[in-house]
Symmetry: C2
DNA sequence: TAGGGATAGATGCAAACGCATATAACTACC
DNA sequence: GGTAGTTATATGCGTTTGCATCTATCCCTA
């Protein structure tokens, strides 16, 4: 008996690595595309990321909480917020309930910048994503990514 | 007549932005997870990325070609390759066919490091991806990401 | 085959990063 | 209620990054 000729089915580990590789490739391709847009004079893409994250927070947030959503080391984020505060885009006040922590929120100017930049950027993102995927596919991609992240963001609430 | 109460169907632009946001979130979550692994003493994650990319190239590649796959500016990649060459992990020789360009390839030591680190990293990736998604879902994710990237990596071959 | 423009990669420099650690404030236990 | 340990953020410092620009080589045309 010879070995059975099996269908070309990848084993899980290989498939998982391939999926990650494609995720990474898509991320890289899109980031380059976004970076190439002539939109980051006022704020860099990372700064915008912070402004955007803050814009979604109904109440002031802690640095550590912000850090959960921004892919930067704690010191790097601390200083990035510094710069944004110096430029009057972010308000940073010490938490009255906990003297160690800070409460971060957008200033009026910060919100204005976020919205102005955000409008254009959102259009670019929409164009880029819809150029490659149909409506249904976008929904699937969103669901898959959400599920993937959720498996690790186990906040024990 | 009042406005029709429609099903809660997101319009394409919003859906596209949501999909991108989740892609970004998944990327961030996984990158953190990988970075947290105790594996990057010999080579940093970015250095590994370069070694891995080179390991997939059957023949020596140009810096500019490598740069297509590594999310770094050209000068940053040039210097990163510098460091890897100085450490004896990458071979860099001027292209005999084009005196401006360089031909990059892994040294024996470089290939060894890539394989050693890669084995462990691949296991981590596999665990992370399969923790959140089933076999079929991994296949879908891969296909969607590939299609998304392909829509922009239009190499006019 | 000489000159003008294009292309590949390297380098100067200031800005931003990560790691380690310092500082300040909270918490818990005795 | 004072001291030990923990947590939230800030700071010192060496490394790495991106932008602008430089150099060297190639290509194309006259």
């Amino acid at each position: 008996m010879t070995t059975q000729p099996v269908a070309p089915q990848r084993v899980m580990p290989q498939l998982a690595n391939d999926a990650w590789e494609q995720l990474l490739a898509a991320y890289g391709t899109l980031m380059r595309l976004y970076a190439a847009e002539d939109r980051w004079d006022e704020v860099s893409m990372r700064e915008y990321d912070v402004l955007y994250t803050l814009s979604k927070c109904p109440a002031p947030v802690r640095l550590s909480e912000l850090n959960r959503h921004v892919l930067l080391s704690q010191p790097a984020l601390s200083r990035l917020v510094d710069r944004l505060a110096e430029r009057g885009l972010v308000d940073r006040c010490t938490d009255p309930a906990d003297g160690r922590g800070v409460r971060l929120s957008l200033t009026e100017a910060g919100r204005a910048v976020q919205q102005r930049v955000g409008r254009g950027h959102a259009r670019t993102v929409a164009r880029a994503m819809t150029a490659g995927l149909t409506h249904d596919e976008l929904g699937q991609l969103e669901a898959l990514c959400r599920k993937l992240a959720a498996a690790h963001d186990k906040d024990p609430t």
